[in-house]
Subunit: 207 residues, 2 copies
Amino acid sequence: MVTTVAARRTRPQRADAKRAEILAGARAEFLSRGYEGASMDAVAATAGVSKMTVYRHFGSKEQLFSGVIRQLCDEIIDEDISEQMDSQPVADAMRMFARRMLSTVYDPVTLQLHRVVVAESSRFPELGNLFYEQGPLRSITLLAAFIKRHPKEFGAHARNAERAAAEFMSLLRGYTHLKALLGLNPSPSEFSEAVESAVDFLLRRNS
Amino acid sequence: MVTTVAARRTRPQRADAKRAEILAGARAEFLSRGYEGASMDAVAATAGVSKMTVYRHFGSKEQLFSGVIRQLCDEIIDEDISEQMDSQPVADAMRMFARRMLSTVYDPVTLQLHRVVVAESSRFPELGNLFYEQGPLRSITLLAAFIKRHPKEFGAHARNAERAAAEFMSLLRGYTHLKALLGLNPSPSEFSEAVESAVDFLLRRNS
DNA sequence: GTCTATATGAAGATAGAC
DNA sequence: GTCTATCTTCATATAGAC
């Protein structure tokens, strides 16, 4: 009886561990080679399991890919910084928000995720949706809520907060983001310039 | 002698015709399936030639891909509309420029090209460069020149015309472009709102 | 549940006839 | 120059032992 109980606990745990290793291996493979370029052999090798084990856990390459992307979309979400933003001057809060955004968006993993999801949006339309909702849309919504909490500072922008938030983020991304996605190396000054442009836009300080 | 002369003209023309057909077939294949997903068998079948002919003309899949992307980058360039812009009020010229940009950027072929080039920017870095230079950079440069020709209307923006032009285009793209790349269908009102936001930004009409 | 070994097909690239 | 036929490799997915 004792051994049975132990087995009941241990076996699923080991299975979960394998599952996590497979996901980790698949993540590396899909991010670096894309959906078509990735091979299930390489996934199994990287995860240190046999290919059969991969198929037992995920059924097919498509389902494994979907699992990897969903996990990444969940992980990449920024922590909610609304409280920290509310405890400082509005302009400082905006700059803080902007810098957090940039460090997330230009993280190499985020860039690769972006490339892969855009590339496979025809084959996996629901992943395109998921990526947009968990990424940009969350940030826009969070920023819009902040704007609404400070109607005086944001003036007319507060009356259309979602639109203002999206425009702020668009100025923040600029074409620097596209350059990074295309493999060009943006110069560091582009980031600080983008922050100032976006903040000035929302606070109407047209220098 | 007559036949020789005729042959001298005809053979290269036929070879060029085949070459064009191969490029057309390859374009369809690469745009719809991506680099890895595309097959040389399918390219040959779509072009109506044998696979050997494809290899005679282009040597390898990589070279064929490069040829296709280069051709697309050349074709997608907008005609120069500077003269038309100069012959009307500045605000109207900006709206015209904006609408042209949008119709180019949201063209299905452009969207697919964008997806593929971003996806393959690691394997083909020079194509990432080319795409940026022939696409966004050309538009930014053209718009910056227009701004410089009208320093009075653009005020402070004219003193940093390249930056102002890039910011204009960033507001114009907004997140609508990303949504389109992710397979989400933007609502029509997003386009006209983006045009007004971008124009208002540059002309400092903060409504 | 996980392994080794394999079925089955398709890919990129080439040989050799004409 | 273009074709048919083929080489070689590697892919996804599975069968069967333990």
